[in-house]
């Protein structure tokens, strides 16, 4: 049995199991709420219940006082739900979030293309009004024969709501990606839920932008950059992209052309392990090193958007911070996989997003 929890002011709706602590559910869904002690004595995670019923459980009488209980306050780290609940938490609302409603869609596979030896592109045609999404968001794709859907970032611009592009890397031994790579054919129908996620461009922020992407993490940045350029955005936009070798470096021609067409768009790419016959004249390093080279280890005054494998993200966060760009200006999608929630990395409360 589970209940729906709506988290204001974000308007995000998540599922909470009957005996699951509200804070736990929010963090697992990638929504950061303030907290500290995590066992009901400090009061850092106090929230306002706007609708519905919660149990306060072991919340200390000093951290959550009677008058606060009367006012509808509760501690997220201890509270469980007794009905569907709406809460208001002390989190920032993003002015640039479109907060689009989520819906279920069905699309027909109209094109399949091998972008690299390991990454395939799938184009899904969605009839009618198509899928309204914000560049950077993802969808949950239902794979025939698998119970749980898989998340894939949308790679096309929001200006093409009827033709959804996904770039899918084949994960060795992964059921979903193996199916998609080996069995999917043009003409198949796929259903999905979209749009999801809170990764989007802070368009109201005046700063120039850096997009950092590695491997198949190019989807969201591609969508975001196409969207910005189509809108005639005049801020400086730089895409820093890294792949293992030349054959894995995809959409090279597309971004090279874009950088020639738009004078405010810059594209730099590097290979981490080029093959001898790659004839690569560019940089041979990781994404964060390429970014450091390109920006002279100084990222102050930018907004950075990142997408890629965990090691790349980790390297980039450190590089950005040591180049004086901090948490408030760094954005990424937090995917919480089943493996993540089983074994959480030990982190301190220093950062909210990382």
């Amino acid at each position: 049995m589970s209940y729906q929890l709506t988290i204001e002011p974000l308007g995000e709706v998540i599922e909470v199991e009957e005996d699951q602590k509200l804070l736990d559910a929010a963090l697992r869904a990638g929504i950061w709420l303030p907290y500290a002690c995590n066992h009901g004595v400090c009061g850092s995670c106090k929230i306002q219940v706007l609708e519905g019923e919660v149990e306060h459980n072991e919340a200390s009488g000093f951290a959550l006082m009677d008058m606060e209980r009367d006012e509808g306050k509760t501690l997220a780290c201890c509270a469980t739900l007794s009905s569907d609940v709406v809460i208001e938490a002390d989190i920032e609302e993003e002015d640039d979030a479109l907060n689009l409603s989520v819906d279920d869609y069905s699309g027909t596979v109209v094109k399949i293309e091998n972008l690299t030896p390991t990454i395939m592109g799938i184009w899904l045609e969605v009839p009618g009004e198509g899928v309204e999404f914000q560049a950077g968001q993802y969808l949950n794709l239902h794979i025939p024969g698998l119970e749980d859907p898989r998340a894939f970032s949308i790679a096309n611009s929001p200006s093409e709501p009827n033709l959804i592009e996904l770039n899918i890397r084949h994960v060795e031994g992964g059921q979903a990606t193996t199916y998609l790579h080996q069995q999917l054919v043009v003409g198949d129908e796929l259903t999905f839920t979209a749009p999801l996620g809170r990764f989007f461009v802070r368009k109201s922020a005046p700063e120039p932008m850096i997009f950092l992407a590695g491997g198949s993490g190019l989807s969201s940045p591609k969508s975001m950059i196409l969207d910005l350029l189509e809108e005639g955005d005049e801020r400086e936009i730089t895409l820093v992209y890294g792949a293992r070798c030349r054959s894995e470096l995809y959409y090279y021609d597309l971004f090279t052309e874009l950088s020639e067409k738009y004078k405010n768009f810059h594209y730099v790419a590097a290979l981490s392990e080029p093959n001898e016959d790659d004839e690569w004249k560019g940089s041979c390093c990781f994404v964060h090193q390429l970014a450091e080279q390109h920006f002279g280890k100084n990222f102050e005054g930018y907004k950075a958007y990142m997408c890629g494998p965990p090691l790349m993200i980790d390297g980039c966060i450190t590089a950005l911070m040591q180049g004086r760009l901090f948490e408030d200006h760094i954005f990424m999608e937090n995917f919480f996989t089943a493996a993540d929630s089983a074994k959480p990395a030990r982190r301190s409360a220093l950062f909210k997003k990382f």
Partner: protein, 508 residues
């Protein structure tokens, strides 16, 4: 999709309510109005980037705090009315309360003083207001601790001269010097030392042992105080995190300065916590966990995770952390052995742990305990049984920085005493460790002025040059000191236990 008017979030509401309450002075230079927030070298480009960690109005603050007080004092009243001193695990437990009351409670008062200074000293209004709130919290903690402990003062020795021994007792210069060191630094170092290093990094190693220790040992008054304070501590921890991020993000030149402070205050905090660990391992009749275990959880796991995150800013692990971890199996035994020999010069009792407790220590600390410390305790027990309870006749040499007696051993040799000397302006200064030596050598002009109680006592500045003279000056009585077994606290406890279950007319 329907669109609704956007709700203001809590931060926006707070911003709207508080913005513009501060101003740039024009009659006087801002540097003259805030003369202390630049000389440490910390560069702040934009105080508006400060994220207020509390977001409290004075109105809400009073409302919450007064409700907490009502709850706390209702329980303190019931502790008094129900003779709850009878519910504690054993009268030896009271020594943990004495350590807190003598050593920690005055720190709360000094924290109050320090945060009052900061509440005036920072140029940023948000930081000033946060410090002002914290100052009031600290005063509340000081007062409520005294009130929580005062019931025990009716029955147990060693608690009746709190403010006097705070100023005069040689061994209380250990905690006192920690705060006085911070208070005589600049505002940014103070807040790094207290809000970050102490309240955030090391707080669990202070709070958990005392409050859980109180709960395990039937001390309802202290436990309730602990819960009441912990709801304030979360704000203090948030302030600690906020200030460190703020300084690190404001200017890259701040990073090496902060690294130096983290090195220093990690080591000072760790040295101070040795006293707390000793309390955990020796003064709690019912154990919560050993110091070793607490160190592993709260430092080796949580503390290291924090420093891994700080590494993103270019901050390295605090200097000498390896030494602290090497000492985890011995520091509390070395400390207890020292207090045992000097408790006739303190308002505390000490004793040799019973066999079950020695077995617990053996299990927690293994071979080193069995080969080095247990035989020492057994030897002292033999002497005590012969009526020759061992006390040192003279006060010890103490470290010029942490003020702890120089009993610590070499990082890699638990049988070799560590005493390091630095010569400054023709005077030799002794330190207990590389950590304290570094601190001294970084600021010799500061530490060469430290008030070192044993030296002052032997110079005759504390009532006379003998221990008897000194005890009189300290206003502690013979009954407050020395061996626990046979003490007034012990005798009274035995009498209470013998009365338990007898008809009330006999139990007068």
């Amino acid at each position: 999709m329907t669109t609704k008017a956007k709700r203001l979030n809590m931060n926006q509401k707070y911003q709207l309510m508080t913005r513009g309450l501060d101003w740039e002075t024009t009659y006087q230079d801002m540097d003259d109005v805030f003369p202390y927030d630049k000389y440490e070298g910390i560069k702040i480009k934009d105080w508006d980037k400060w994220q207020d960690p509390f977001r409290l109005t004075v109105d809400a603050y009073w409302k919450y705090q007064s409700e907490k007080e009502r709850k706390l004092y209702a329980i303190l009243d019931s502790v008094a009315q129900n003779n709850s001193q009878l519910s504690i695990s054993d009268a030896r437990y009271m020594n943990a309360v004495k350590i807190w009351m003598q050593g920690v409670t005055p720190l709360e008062y000094n924290a109050f003083r320090g945060f009052c200074t900061l509440g005036r000293g920072f140029r940023g209004a948000g930081a000033r207001v946060a410090c002002q709130f914290q100052a009031i919290d600290e005063m509340r903690h000081h007062q409520t601790q005294i009130h929580a402990f005062s019931h025990y003062n009716k029955f147990f020795n060693g608690m009746n001269q709190q403010s006097r021994i705070r100023d005069r007792a040689w061994y209380l210069s250990i905690p006192k010097s920690y705060f006085e060191d911070a208070m005589t630094a600049g505002p940014f170092e103070f807040i790094t030392a207290i809000s970050f290093s102490f309240e955030y990094v090391l707080t669990n190693l202070l709070f958990m042992p005392f409050v859980s220790g109180a709960a395990y040992n039937g001390d309802l008054a202290t436990t309730t105080f602990g819960f009441s304070a912990q709801s304030d501590e979360s704000r203090h921890m948030t302030l600690g995190l906020e200030i460190i991020k703020f300084m690190l993000e404001q200017h890259e030149d701040n990073v090496p300065i902060i690294q130096g402070w983290l090195d220093k205050w990690f080591w000072r905090g760790y040295r101070l916590l040795g006293l707390v660990g000793t309390m955990m391992d020796y003064m709690l009749p019912k154990k919560v966990m050993s110091w070793r275990q607490a160190w592993e959880i709260y430092w080796e796991e949580n503390g290291v995770a924090l420093f891994n995150d700080l590494a993103r800013y270019g901050i390295k692990m605090p200097k000498h952390h390896e030494t602290a971890t090497k000492e985890k199996n011995r520091i509390t035994h070395e400390f207890w052995s020292t207090i045992y020999q000097f408790s006739h010069a303190t308002a505390l009792y000490t004793w040799i742990p019973g066999n079950e407790e020695l077995d617990w220590l053996s299990a927690e600390y293994g071979e080193l305990f069995d080969t080095v410390y247990r035989p020492r305790y057994e030897y002292w027990k033999e002497l005590d049984d012969k009526g020759e309870r061992f006390f040192q006749e003279r006060l010890p040499v103490v470290c010029n920085v942490c003020q702890i007696p120089i009993f610590h051993t070499m990082p890699d040799d638990p049988l070799k005493n560590c005493c390091l000397v630095s010569e400054y302006k023709g005077t030799k200064h002794q330190m207990c460790s590389e950590g304290c030596l570094d601190i001294f050598n970084n600021e010799p002009e500061k530490y060469c002025q430290a008030y070192i109680p044993p030296q002052q006592i032997y110079q005759g500045n504390c009532g006379g040059a003998t221990l008897d003279d000194y005890r009189k000056w300290l206003h502690i009585r013979d009954e407050d000191t020395g061996e626990y077994y046979g003490s007034e606290d012990h005798q009274m406890w035995e009498k209470w236990k013998a009365q338990a279950g007898k008809p009330t007319d006999e139990a007068a």
